[in-house]
Amino acid sequence: MITVRGLTRRFGAVTAVEALDFQLEKGEVVGFLGPNGAGKTTTMRILAGYLPATEGVAVVAGFDVLRQSMEVRKRIGYLPESVPLYAELRVEEMLEFQGRLHGLSRAERRQRIPRVLERAGIADRSRSIIGQLSRGQRQRVGIAVALLPDPQVLILDEPTSGLDPLQRLEIRKLLTELAREHTVLLSSHILPEIEAVCPRVIILSHGRIAADGSKDALLHKLGGGSYVRVEAVVGPDAAGAARLLGAIKGAGAVRDRGRLGIHHVFEVPCVEDLREDVGALAASKKWALRELSWRKPTLEQLFARIALDLPLETPEDGASAPAAASAAPSGAVTLQVDAQLRAAPASAPAAAPSSFRPLNPFEAAAPSAPAPGEKSAEKPAAPRVVYNLNPFDQGASRDLSRPKAIDDAPRAE
């Protein structure tokens, strides 16, 4: 339904997207994921026929986007990020306008307009003036407008931005419904949404496709590194216990994470859940278990790594010294600051060792991100701080050694 080959778009010296290649089959629902400035909107605009591509070919519903623009435009429903609607019109007038633009007859309009309003959940506001609607309601009107011509392909740019969680849930439900009849390409930087709605995800980073595939396949291919974490009292012979654990069928090279009190921590890399086997082994050896958990990298962590340009296939970077791990909330990816600076030198060009660069994944995409305040450099001997690498945990650059929870940038004082 959508075929993109070698798609490149440059704005002067800036390359917004470069050599994109992907294909959407009929009825497929694909989520575009990427930090701001990764090229999601540009790609969607090219597909909708708003921007021409500098190089490459895009074919939508069997028509070339550039050469047969009108044919493509008749067959797509495009909802730009800004939700463009005439503020002075009433909801139904806007839909009338869209229907006429698409050449629907009066009978078709009369039949379809109430239906799409119903589907978008805005039927009760059909007589309202658009300018007086709330952001969420406008979003719904935008979706209704995109749906009206019953397009084969729906291109929705951030359809849930600016909505409250409840509205988001409803839109998500609507999207899942739409997925049954339409080919849908939607973008978002909200991961749970993409995970919930789209079986297939395309991750963009710096205008290139960083990953493309189903969520599980992506995790398997790129993330790797799922493991069973064992915390148990194994006696003095830790190496022997590690050998035993490694002998379990399906287990990789066991990592010994040292002692935590009387307990010993092991990580058993595995593709499938080995908790039962490990549990059985522990029972037979009479190890007292304190923790037995299966850790999988989430799409979030994968996304964060891509956005931060971190190497993808290093299972180790999810873990750190036990002392540091105990300071961070469990399950979060934690890294020590200097380790982080080593791992991603490009993202911290001028940072002095003592001044912190926020580990904001979205900042890696912006080449000219402002340097952290100079004052922090004067402060001598800053403590070794553990950062939470989960970018979706409100303050991505949160200093966990301080009680303050929400903070966008390192404070200068």
Binding site: F11, R45, A48, G49, Y50, L51, P52, M70, R73, K74, I76, Y78, P80, S82, V83, P84, L85, Y86, A87, E88, L89, E93, F97, Q98, R100, L101, H102, G103, V145
Partner: protein
């Protein structure tokens, strides 16, 4: 033309849903009516025919032409570009030319409505027992609408250039002014009689083209082609400017 009629209707509705159109209409009608009475009573010595002609060709008429179309068209493209509606229009199944022409037609209709008020003055006089000269009045209204169409197309070019409505209006007024005073280049350059540039400038005068035809009730294809060519040129420029937004 795909979508032209739909966009024309939307634009016209948009004009009359905004207070600006009503304010302009009120002020213009009031001023124009006052001027007409002034012409009728003080200037022409109660000559209805001459007063109606002046109302559609005098100094004040050109001032209206200079100011009104830019105010009407200033928001048409610039505001939509800013609010993002342009992205909707340019991805809808309507060609860029249809978008420009639809907007131009809406502005022209509005101006035509304004100029047809002169017919009301004639009608009122008719009721009072004075027979106006209808032919030059009707051709005058038609011509005035055509001239408004030209200035509106210039306004659309300005609106496509700028994303600030007020700036677009200002640019349009300046451009309209330049178009009106273009023939004065002749006097400025002191060209010898018969020089090709002098002849060309003489033909390029919007004011004299209008006043020697529609203003006095003469319909000639020569003048129609003159205005159609200018309008086509500015519509072309506006369309290209709209297209340019896709590339930058």
């Amino acid at each position: 033309m795909q979508g032209l009629w739909t966009i024309y209707r939307r634009e016209l509705a948009g004009l009359f849903l905004s207070p600006l159109a009503w304010i302009l209409l009120t002020i213009a009608l009031f001023a124009h009516g006052y001027i007409f009475i002034f012409y009728l009573v003080s200037v022409t010595g109660r000559d209805l025919r001459a007063a109606m002609q002046l109302a559609l060709a005098g100094d004040v008429f050109w001032w209206f032409m200079l100011l009104l179309p830019p105010l009407l068209t200033m928001r048409m493209i610039s505001e939509e570009a800013r609010s993002g509606v342009l992205e909707f229009l340019l991805t809808a199944p309507a060609t860029d030319v249809a978008v420009v022409l639809g907007k131009l037609a809406a502005a022209t209709t509005f101006m035509g409505l304004l100029w047809s008020s002169v017919l009301l003055y004639g009608g009122a006089a008719h009721l009072l027992g004075v027979r106006p000269d209808w032919i030059p009045a009707i051709s005058g209204v038609f011509g005035a609408t055509l001239v408004s169409c030209l200035f509106s197309s210039i306004g659309l070019v300005a609106s496509a250039l700028s994303s600030t409505p007020i700036l677009a209006a200002f640019a349009a007024v300046v451009m309209n002014f330049l178009v009106i005073v273009l023939p004065s280049l002749d006097a400025l350059l002191k060209l010898p009689a018969g020089h090709w540039a002098k002849v060309a400038l003489g033909h390029a005068s919007v004011v004299s083209q209008y006043q020697s035809s529609f203003g006095i009730g003469v319909l000639d294809t020569k003048h129609l082609v003159f205005f159609a060519a200018w309008i086509a040129f500015f519509v072309f420029v506006a369309t290209r400017l709209l297209e340019k937004r896709r590339w930058s």
